[in-house]
Symmetry: C2
C-alpha cells in the first residue's frame, strides 16, 4: 500500500514572478505576486528539476523553514550520496508526495521512510533550495580547488553582533511553502535522511503573509510596521534577473552556471525601543511615510525617491535614511533579489519579543551586491540603532538538477 | 488622518463550531470546522464582547500566539486600568481596526498607538482571550478571597519536566488568527500597552493548518504524523459544551459564571527517537493506524474503539495505548475542549528539532477533567517515552466582557 503524500491537485500555479531590488533588511522587499489565475496557493506545484533551482525567482510563498547543516566526517562519496538522497526526496516532496515508500507504505517492522505529518495536505507550493557554504570547500571533500571566487567569506560589518551558533554551515536548505507544516515536514525529513552524515547547525522559521498572492496584493509590512519591498523589480524583468541573479557562463566556477549566491542574515529588531520612538522619527529613519509608504520627498508609494529635494535647507530624505543608503543609486547600481521573512522566536528573559527579519538575498556576485549595500548601511543607516545582525551565512546555490541527476552534480564531475 | 487597520470586509464567518473531547496532547484534538459558507478565513470577524469570550468555542484558527504575563507591583487600580486598556484594544483589533488612534493617526511627535505591521491585513478571524492565573489571587490585589476552588494548582504528574521559565503567570492572553502576523501584532500591542504594569513571562507561537476550515476538512495531523482530534464532539452539541466547558451559575465563584478554565501544556516531542521507531510500534503506542487513523480494533477513522476486542489472547488496542488511556470511558467520562497547536522552536545544540504540541484545553472543572485524564496518561501512556511536558499553566478565563465594561469586571465588583 503506497499512499501518495497528498492528492495531487494538478500541476498548476507555475506562474513565476520575481522581485529584485536593492535594500538590506528593511526596504525594498519583494513579495512577488503570482500564481496562475484560478489556482489556489494550496494547489500550487513548482517543478524541482530544471535549469535553475526553484525557490529563487518563484513567487515568494508565505512560510519559511531554513536550515544550515554541518557535514559529519570527510567522506566525499558519502557527501555525494547525501546529495543524491536529498535530491530524490526533494523531488518527491515538492511534487506533493511522501518520501521513499511513504509514511505507511513500507514494512510494518521498520521505521517508515516518511514521518507522515504532511499526509493529506495539499502541495502548498513547496520549494526546496540547496546551497553550499564556504567551509564545504576547506579540503575535507577534495573541493578546495572548486571554490568560486564569488563565494567570499563575508567581511565584518560595523555593528555586527553575530553569534557562531546562528552563522555559517557547510550546506543549507531553504524550504518555502504556503503551509508551515509542509515546510517543517520537508526540513524534518531531509534532516532525518542526513542522520549520521550531516546535522543541523542552526535553523529558522519565518512567516510573511497568508493573503493569496495576486498582482494587486498590497506591499507587505515588516515588524517595524513599514511597507517593505516597494521598489522591487518584477519577475517579468528577465533582463535584470539575468544580469543580477543568475551566474552566467564565464564566471569563476563553471559548475555554478545557472546558479546564484544566497546571503542570509538574521536581523533582530529591537522592538521595544522602536515602539517608543515618535512617528516622525520612525519616518525620518526609514525615509518613507508609514501609512502609505511614499518617499518623504513626496508622491505616492511607487514614486521614485528624490534624494535632492529640499525644504528649509535640508533634504526631505535624511542623509542617513534607510531608503537612501539602500538605494541602487548610492551603491553603484547594486541590486539584490530578496526573499526575507519576518520571525518571532518567543521572548527573552526580560519579556521582550525576540523578533525581526530573516533576510535572504540572491545575487550573482555577493562582493559587488550584498557586501556593497551592507557596507553602505552598516556605517551610517539610521536604522542601526534599532536592529542587530545576529546571524549570517553565505552559500553557493548550484543550478537546478537535471532529471536523473542530483543537485550539485556539476561540482563533483 | 485616522486609518482603520484594514478594510473591514463585513461581519462574517461567525459560524461557531466547537470540539470537545478527551485526550491530552495527541489524540482527540478538534480542529473545529466552520465559517459561514461563502466567507473566506481572511474576512472572518468574531465579536469581542458577548456572553462568553471568543477563542474558546470559535472554530480553531490556523495560528496561535500565546503569552503569559506577570503583573508588576501590587496596585489593584493599576491592574484594573490595564484590563480596561486591554479590553478596548482587543475590541478594536478583533474588529480589524488599529489600536487607539492607529499607526499613523496620532501626533507626529509621539509614539503611535499602534505598531502598524497589521495595517492593510484583513481581520483574519482574530480572537483574543484573557485569563487569570492562581498567583493573581495571592493577596497582592485584594483578590485572595475571590479565587475559585476550581482554579487549583496543578499537581505534579509522573514524568513532568517543567521549566519555571515556561510555566505559570498572573495573566494570559491567547491570540488566534488565520494570519500569524495578525496574531503577533495583537500580542505585541497588548504587551506594549502593559509596559510598566505587566511583562511577558513566557510566550509561544503555534501553527495548525492553512487549509480553509470546512466541514469536509480532513482531521489534522500532529508532528508524530498521526491524525489528531478524530473523536472530538462537534460544536453543535451544545449540551456537552454547556456541561463540560462553561462555568454554570452555582459553581464556587459567581464572577466566573459563563467563563471557563484554560490549561496549557508545552509538550516537547522527542522527534528523532520517534522517527526511528517502527510503524508497528508507533501504531501500538497510539492505538490507531497511521494512514487512516482507524482504531486498531478495526473499522474506520470514526469507528468507536473496542477496548475489549482480542486476537491471539491479547487486546487489539494495547493496555497502555494512548487512545485507551485518554478515552472518556477510562476517565469517568472526562471531556475537554481542546485547541492545541503544533510548534517548532528551531533546534537544540545537538541539531535536534525543538518541536512538539502546545496543548490548550478548556473545561469547567480542571480537577475532574484535565487532571483526571493526565493522571491516567502520566502513569502509563506508552507515548510518554516520546514526549516531555516542559511548560504548564492554568488560568481562570472569565466570561465575555459587556459592551462598555471590561474583561474580568465581575472579579473586581
Amino acid at each position: 500500500m503506497t499512499l501518495s503524500r497528498r492528492g495531487l491537485l494538478g500541476l498548476a500555479g507555475a506562474g513565476v514572478v520575481v522581485g529584485t531590488g536593492a535594500g538590506i533588511g528593511i526596504d525594498h522587499f519583494a513579495i512577488a505576486p503570482a500564481t496562475a489565475s484560478g489556482t489556489s496557493g494550496a494547489a500550487a506545484v513548482y517543478p524541482f528539476y530544471g535549469e535553475h533551482q526553484s525557490g529563487i525567482t518563484t513567487a515568494a510563498q508565505d512560510r519559511l523553514h531554513f536550515a544550515s547543516f554541518d557535514v559529519d566526517g570527510s567522506d566525499r562519496s558519502e557527501l555525494i550520496s547525501l546529495l543524491k538522497d536529498w535530491t530524490a526526496a526533494a523531488a518527491q516532496m515538492t511534487a506533493g508526495k511522501t518520501v521513499g515508500t511513504g509514511a505507511v507504505g513500507g514494512p510494518l517492522d521498520a521505521p517508515a521512510d516518511d514521518t507522515g505529518e504532511a499526509l493529506d495536505l495539499p502541495p502548498s507550493g513547496l520549494t526546496i533550495t540547496f546551497g553550499f557554504g564556504p567551509s564545504l570547500f576547506d579540503g575535507r571533500f577534495g573541493l578546495a580547488g572548486k571554490r568560486p571566487t564569488e563565494l567570499i567569506d563575508l567581511p565584518h560589518f560595523a555593528g555586527d553582533a553575530l553569534e557562531a551558533a546562528l552563522s555559517g554551515g557547510d550546506l543549507c536548505i531553504q524550504a518555502c511553502s504556503d503551509d508551515p507544516q509542509v515546510a517543517v515536514h520537508a526540513i524534518r525529513n531531509l534532516s532525518r535522511i542526513a542522520f549520521g552524515r550531516a546535522s543541523i547547525r542552526w535553523s529558522q522559521l519565518g512567516f510573511g503573509r497568508t493573503s493569496s498572492t495576486t498582482r494587486d496584493q498590497v506591499t507587505p509590512r515588516n515588524l517595524f510596521g513599514f511597507k517593505d519591498g516597494t521598489a522591487n523589480v518584477k519577475a517579468e524583468d528577465t533582463t535584470q534577473v539575468d544580469e543580477h541573479v543568475w551566474v552566467p557562463r564565464g564566471d569563476s566556477a563553471s559548475w555554478m552556471t545557472g546558479g546564484s549566491y544566497l546571503v542570509a542574515r538574521k536581523i533582530r529588531m529591537l522592538i521595544e525601543p522602536w515602539d517608543r520612538t515618535s512617528l516622525r522619527e520612525q519616518e525620518r529613519v526609514i525615509g518613507r511615510n508609514k501609512g502609505e509608504g511614499a518617499p518623504l520627498s513626496g508622491g505616492k508609494e511607487f514614486t521614485e525617491p528624490d534624494f535632492h529635494a529640499k525644504a528649509l535647507g535640508s533634504t526631505l530624505i535624511d542623509r542617513d535614511a534607510h531608503v537612501r543608503l539602500a538605494h541602487p543609486d548610492q551603491n553603484k547600481g547594486a541590486l539584490l533579489l530578496r526573499r526575507g521573512y519576518n520571525f518571532v522566536d518567543g521572548n527573552d528573559d526580560l519579556g521582550r519579543l525576540n523578533a525581526g527579519l530573516f533576510f535572504i538575498a540572491f545575487q550573482r556576485d555577493p562582493a559587488s551586491q550584498f557586501v556593497r549595500v551592507q557596507q553602505s548601511l552598516a556605517g551610517h543607516d539610521a536604522l542601526n540603532e534599532y536592529i542587530r545582525h545576529v546571524g549570517s551565512g553565505i552559500f553557493a546555490v548550484p543550478p537546478g538538477a537535471k532529471p536523473g541527476s542530483y543537485v550539485g552534480a556539476e561540482l563533483f564531475a
